[in-house]
Every structure is written in structure tokens, then in C-alpha cells.
């Protein structure tokens, strides 16, 4: 876990538009991936859609950072921007540094030497992400041949090892099979094998389990866990499954309408969310021993109360397949960049300050035992914390 700056040093991770992007020096404990003020916009006709708006984060070696948010919040677009996979029509600003090397603005050729080798990605749809007319072995082997200069024979031998590594039984037979002969879970394991073939420093996993059966999901997560332990790969895990977050993430970054709204170590976030949106996401689900329902929370919190009943369970282990609960109100249209809190229209805490100024992405003070790495883009982070504490005390 790492956040490069102590609260008292100049706030480089702040996602405020004016935030200065100081170049991170390559030091032993420097982050492997450092994203600063990343903005992505798409033009369509005379409208400009701001899919990602000043996103910044750091990823330490071996760390698992979960990026959560509703669909359309920009989390996948941000990941594609890091990989350089967005179409040329996308306007990208900001800095993306992989082990000190700037990727933003790099050409396809230059990116080609990095992608698959130093940074790799697995996608949401294992069904369509593998080429249907090529064998599994060929699809794994071509990464090795491209980046490590292996011969066909060496690549094949290594591919068998990789299939074994990701937990595919009988890898020697499987290697000559085609994607359609494999189940969804097996295909996702193959995708992971492709991604980790060259032992990348960073692995971006975009909703790796969403398209899979619940029973298969756990297996995939286990593979990711063990790879991180064995290979020390840092992982950016994009998901909207809070159960997955609780399972394997070290740190969580919450995004809303293209902007980062809260970032904290996983325990910290689940126990003391400081942004009303995060609270809304977590809802009553994670409070121990409570069956959530309408009317449990009184006052302004009611707006955010999800109408979904959650099973009572361990604090950090939401039962079953939990997805983000519904929050009333509309996500703002992404073609405007208001100089205000984008969540204000849906927020029970909103006041004049929220609609007239954009909150900085700042470290929250350690008053209620908050971690130094805990940041939130909210004008009233303490009210959010207090209300929660009061509610729990009242029960």
C-alpha cells in the first residue's frame, strides 16, 4: 500500500483541475504505475463528452487497487487510456507513467513494446476476447515470441507451464484446443495466462468475473490472488462487485461521473466512508448484524438507503453476489464539466458550497481515526462520518 505523499507535503495526487503534475522520481519505493490528472474526452458532433476528468492514482509494486463505480463512470475508459487502447478520436491529457516511463502520447510502436510485457490487461468478455480461429497455445505463445524472442518450441513449452500456472487441468491437451472448446471460466484463465506470460509489473483486470457464473468467479479471483503472491504483480482491478473488492483489494478508488471521489485502504473505506456516494454504494450492507431496509436510517441518509435486503454477515464479507445498490437520482450528463460537485444533485448533504465549487480530492483529517492515505472529494466529509457513527450508536 502506498500513497506517495504525506498529507503535509504538496498535494500532488489531488485531482483538482489546477493540480500540478510533478514528475515522480524513480525511487526504490516509487509507484510502478503513476497516473496524474488523466482526462479523456470524446467529441461527437458539437458535443464533447468528458469520460474521465482529472483522475490521479498511484499503484505500488504488488498492490491490488480496486476501482469501483457504476457503469459509465469512466473506470474502463481510464484503464483503456492507460493501455493506449482507445481509438484515435479520444482526446487524452495528463500523465501516465509506468516505472517512470511516460506512456501518454506514446506512439503505437512504442506502446507495442510495453503492452503485454510490462503492463497487461484482461477483459470482461472471455467469450469474445480470444480469437476463435487460433489455438490457445498460439494465442499465448505469440506474446512470448513477440516480447521474449522465444522460438515456437520454447513458446509452446512455456505456454503449457502458464496454463498450469492459471490452474487449467491437462494443459498439454488444452494447448491445442480452440477457444470455443473451453468454458467461460477456462477462457478467462487463458486470458490471464496471456496477460501474465511476460511477468508484467502491472495487470489491469477490467471486470474479470462479471460475465462468469458465480461458482466460477471465486476460482478466477483465486488465480489472480495467487499470481500476485507468486509473481508480485500489481493489479488494477476494475469492478462493480463489492464482494470482489472486499476479497482481494488493498486499496479502493471510487469514481463517479468520470471523477475520483474517494480513495482509501480497503478496511478504512468499508468502515468509514467519507463521501456520501461511497456511503450510498456500501449502503447498509456492510454493517454487521443488520438487515438493511427502508426506514432503518433516518434523516438525510434515507436518500441513499438501498432497498435491497442484505444477509447479515461478517463486516467485510458481503454475502453472495453483491452489486452496487441503486441510488436514486440521475448521473449527470458527461458533456458538461460543472464547477461544482457532480454528486450534489443526488446528495442529501448538499448545500450552496457543493453547487458552487468543485471539491478538491484531499486527504481527510485523522479525527475519527482515518488513515493518512484516505482521500475524498467532498465538502462535508466529516458530516458523512458523523452521521454514520450516530446511526450505529443509535441501534
Amino acid at each position: 500500500m502506498s500513497t506517495p505523499d504525506a498529507p503535509e507535503t504538496p498535494d500532488t495526487t489531488a485531482g483538482v483541475p489546477a493540480g500540478a503534475a510533478t514528475a515522480a522520481a524513480v525511487a526504490p519505493d516509487a509507484p510502478v504505475l503513476s497516473v496524474r490528472d488523466l482526462s479523456v474526452s470524446f467529441r461527437s458532433g458539437d458535443r464533447t463528452v468528458h469520460a474521465v476528468d482529472h483522475l490521479s492514482y498511484d499503484l505500488a509494486a504488488g498492490e491490488v487497487l480496486a476501482v469501483v463505480g457504476e457503469s459509465g463512470c469512466g473506470k474502463s475508459v481510464a484503464a483503456m487510456a492507460v493501455m493506449g487502447l482507445l481509438p484515435p478520436t479520444a482526446g487524452i491529457t495528463g500523465s501516465i507513467r509506468l516505472a517512470g516511463r511516460e506512456l501518454a502520447g506514446a506512439g503505437d510502436k512504442e506502446l507495442g513494446r510495453v503492452r503485454g510485457k510490462d503492463i497487461a490487461m484482461i477483459f470482461q468478455e472471455p467469450m469474445t476476447s480470444l480469437n476463435p480461429v487460433l489455438t490457445v497455445g498460439r494465442q499465448i505463445g505469440e506474446v512470448l515470441r513477440r516480447h521474449q524472442g522465444l522460438t515456437k518450441k520454447q513458446a509452446r513449452a512455456r505456454a503449457v507451464e502458464l496454463l498450469d500456472l492459471v490452474g487449467i487441468p491437462a494443459p498439454r491437451q488444452r494447448i491445442d484446443e480452440y477457444p470455443h472448446q473451453l468454458s467461460g471460466g477456462m477462457r478467462q484463465r487463458v486470458m490471464i495466462a496471456v496477460a501474465v506470460a511476460c511477468d508484467p509489473a502491472v495487470l489491469i483486470a477490467d471486470e474479470p468475473t462479471t460475465a462468469l457464473d458465480v461458482t466460477v468467479q471465486a476460482g478466477i479471483l483465486e488465480v489472480l490472488q495467487s499470481l500476485r503472491e507468486r509473481l508480485g504483480t500489481a493489479v488494477v482491478l476494475i469492478t462493480h462487485d463489492l464482494g470482489v473488492v472486499a476479497d482481494i483489494a488493498d486499496r479502493v478508488l471510487v469514481m463517479y461521473a468520470g471523477r475520483p471521489v474517494e480513495q482509501a485502504p480497503v478496511h478504512e473505506l468499508f468502515e468509514g466512508p467519507r463521501h456520501p456516494y461511497t456511503r450510498g454504494l456500501l449502503g447498509a450492507v456492510l454493517r454487521p448484524g443488520v438487515v438493511a431496509g427502508r426506514g432503518v436510517a433516518a434523516g438525510p441518509g434515507a436518500v441513499l438507503e438501498p432497498g435491497v435486503a442484505a444477509a447479515p454477515g461478517a463486516a467485510l464479507r458481503p454475502a453472495g453476489k453483491r452489486r452496487l445498490p441503486e441510488i436514486p437520482g440521475l448521473v449527470p450528463s458527461l458533456d458538461e464539466q460543472p464547477d461544482a460537485c457532480t454528486f450534489a444533485p443526488r446528495c442529501a448533504f448538499a448545500d450552496d458550497q457543493c453547487t458552487s465549487g468543485r471539491p478538491g480530492f484531499k486527504a481527510v483529517a485523522a479525527d475519527v481515526g482515518a488513515d493518512a492515505a484516505h482521500r475524498a472529494a467532498c465538502w462535508h466529509p466529516h458530516d458523512v462520518a458523523l452521521q454514520r457513527i450516530n446511526q450505529e450508536a443509535g441501534q
Binding site: 493501455m83 487502447l85 503505437d108 510502436k109 506502446l111 507495442g112 513494446r113 510495453v114 503492452r115 503485454g116 510485457k117 497487461a120 490487461m121 477483459f123 468478455e125 467469450m127 469474445t128 476476447s129 480470444l130 480469437n131 476463435p132 480461429v133 487460433l134 489455438t135 505469440e142 506474446v143 513477440r146 516480447h147 480452440y178 470455443h180 472448446q181 486470458m191 496471456v194 496477460a195
Partner: protein
């Protein structure tokens, strides 16, 4: 048809079904050809008799060729002979029809192979370029040339090319055939123009289909994966996108082979090549019905066979068909 043991391999089962359909079609074709020739105006005995037309001679011919027999028996004999390679005797040359066919076949095969090569290389190349350079001048140019290729009739293109490259600037020869074995260089000098003429329409169709298939493949998820692997542009386009587009291209080639055969008839006529097409046209004009019957039967049989081979070729390209898995 006959009951065959159900094979376990679904691919084999599919091929058996196709084979059975082909046999049925072939039988129907032979009936049509046989009936068509019988329906021709005039007494076939007269055509066979040539100069000597005494009633006795005609009767002798009828007896010899079994023309007095029941039509079904005649058909049976026709099929029986055809199966043993006996397609009758040409009334024009007096030689066996099968000999004339054996002589014409290499010419047409060479012409077809060369034009197929031309069409595939040009069509796939231009199609890939048009898809990859979408919205740029290259795509516009490729589309315009393809549309022109579809609208220019084979025989006129032939005439224009002869005007340009055999009369104005005599690089190639405009007519005649020299076997490849006799003089390979002269052979090619004479075959280049016919091959270009015959292949141009096919190249246009192949180009259009390749472009469409490539645009489809290029937007697929697995292309994103290939790029995420850091593969070079060439590997992404050639190894992944094109590989997936080939199924469509092979289908088109299969569907267009009929046009190729039709085109060969005209092309051989323009360039005076002694192939199958010329044999057919000559047979029509000299009322050489035995030859016509043999040629039409052979062409159709070959056409049916080629279509079967195209089906087999799919499975070589697409493992989802080959292995009988659920095609997704």
C-alpha cells in the same frame, strides 16, 4: 437415398449429407442434360449420319446408337457410358468426346488457376487496405476500382486490354495457346491478359467482401486483446483480423466460381484459347450435340464438386466448423 451408418463425428455427418445432396443434384443434372439434348430439333441420327443419308444408313445408325430403344433405357446407357468415361463421339471430328475434353481441360485449368491467383492476391490485398485505411483516399480508390470492376463486362475489358497491350504497346500476345511445357515464357505471355480479364470481376467481388469482413473483424474484442498483447500492427491485421475474414472470402470464391466458368467461355473466345469454353461454343455452332452434352455434363459436375470442396475448405479455416462445436 441409402441409409448410411450415423458417424459419431458431426463434421463427417455433415460432409456425408452434403455428399448425398451432391449426388442427387448430379443425377438431376444428367437428366436435364440428357433430356435437353433429346429435345433438340432434328433427328440425332441425321446429325450422326453426316453425308450418307440413305434410310438404310439411318436405320443402321439408330440401331448402333440404340436410338429406337425406350427413352429410359437410353438414359441408363448414357449414364453407364458416362461413368466409364465414354461420352460418345463428336459428329464434327469423329473422335471421342472424352479426348477433346482431355485436350481442352489443361488450357481452361491454367486459365482458371491464373485468374484465381490474380483475383485473390489483388482482391484480398485491396480489401485489407480499404478496411485498414478507412475513410482515406486509399479506401475511396479501392471502392471505385471495385465498382468499376463489377460494371465492366469481361469481354469488353478483354478487347480494351488487347487494344492497349497487344496492339498499341505489344507486350503480350492477343491470341493463341502454347502449352506451358513447350515454352513457359511464351505460354505466360499469352495467358497474362486472359487471366487478368477473367480475374478482374472476381477480384472486385473478393475485394468488397474482404473489406466488409475485415471491418467486422477489426472491431472485434479479440483485436483489442491482440493489441493489448503488444503485437505489431502487421501481426494484428494479418495474424488475427485477416485470418478471421478468410471464411467469408472463401465463401465468396465458392459462390463466384460459376461466374468464373461463364467468364472462361467468353475469355477463351476472345483470346482464341482452345479450352473448355471454346469447345462449348464451337459445339453449339457446329451442332455437335455429343460434344455439347459431354462438355455441359463435365462442367456442371466439376462445378458441383468445387462447391463441395469449398465447404470442406471452410472447415480447414474455421475450427468451429471443423470440430463441430457450437459456432458462436
Amino acid at each position: 437415398m441409402m441409409k448410411l451408418p450415423a458417424p459419431r463425428n458431426p463434421m463427417a455427418a455433415y460432409l456425408l449429407t452434403r455428399l448425398r445432396q451432391c449426388v442427387i443434384t448430379l443425377i438431376l443434372v444428367s437428366v436435364v442434360v440428357f433430356a435437353g439434348i433429346r429435345a433438340l430439333p432434328g433427328d440425332p441420327a441425321l446429325a450422326l449420319a453426316g453425308e450418307e443419308r440413305s434410310p438404310e444408313a439411318l436405320a443402321a445408325i439408330r440401331a448402333e446408337y440404340g436410338l429406337d430403344d425406350n427413352i429410359v433405357i437410353q438414359y441408363g446407357r448414357f449414364v453407364g457410358h458416362a461413368l466409364t468415361g465414354d461420352l460418345g463421339t463428336s459428329s464434327r471430328t469423329g473422335l471421342p468426346v472424352s479426348d477433346a475434353i482431355a485436350e481442352a481441360l489443361p488450357v481452361t485449368l491454367e486459365l482458371a488457376a491464373l485468374s484465381l491467383l490474380f483475383a485473390v492476391v489483388l482482391g484480398i490485398g485491396a480489401g485489407v487496405v480499404a478496411a485498414v485505411r478507412r475513410g482515406r483516399p486509399e479506401e475511396w480508390l479501392a471502392n471505385a476500382v471495385a465498382l468499376l470492376g463489377l460494371s465492366v463486362p469481361t469481354f469488353w475489358l478483354g478487347i480494351v486490354l488487347v487494344l492497349g497491350f497487344a496492339i498499341a504497346v505489344p507486350v503480350f500476345a492477343a491470341s493463341g495457346y502454347v502449352p506451358f511445357g513447350t515454352d513457359p515464357l511464351d505460354n505466360l505471355r499469352r495467358m497474362v491478359l486472359p487471366a487478368v480479364v477473367l480475374g478482374s470481376g472476381l477480384a472486385a467481388v473478393v475485394m468488397r467482401q474482404t473489406r466488409a469482413a475485415m471491418l467486422d473483424s477489426l472491431s472485434a474484442d479479440y483485436i483489442r486483446t491482440a493489441r493489448a498483447k503488444g503485437l505489431s500492427r502487421r501481426e494484428v491485421i494479418g495474424g488475427h483480423a485477416l485470418r478471421n475474414s478468410l471464411v467469408t472470402v472463401v465463401t465468396v470464391l465458392g459462390l463466384q466460381l460459376g461466374h468464373l466458368i461463364s467468364g472462361a467461355v467468353v475469355t477463351e473466345q476472345i483470346f482464341v484459347l482452345p479450352g473448355f469454353g471454346k469447345l462449348t461454343i464451337d459445339a453449339v455452332f457446329t451442332r455437335d450435340y455429343a460434344t455439347l452434352q459431354g462438355v455441359v455434363l463435365c462442367t456442371s459436375a466439376a462445378y458441383i464438386l468445387i462447391n463441395l470442396l469449398v465447404d470442406v475448405a471452410y472447415s480447414a479455416i474455421d475450427p468451429r466448423i471443423r470440430l463441430g462445436g457450437a459456432a458462436r
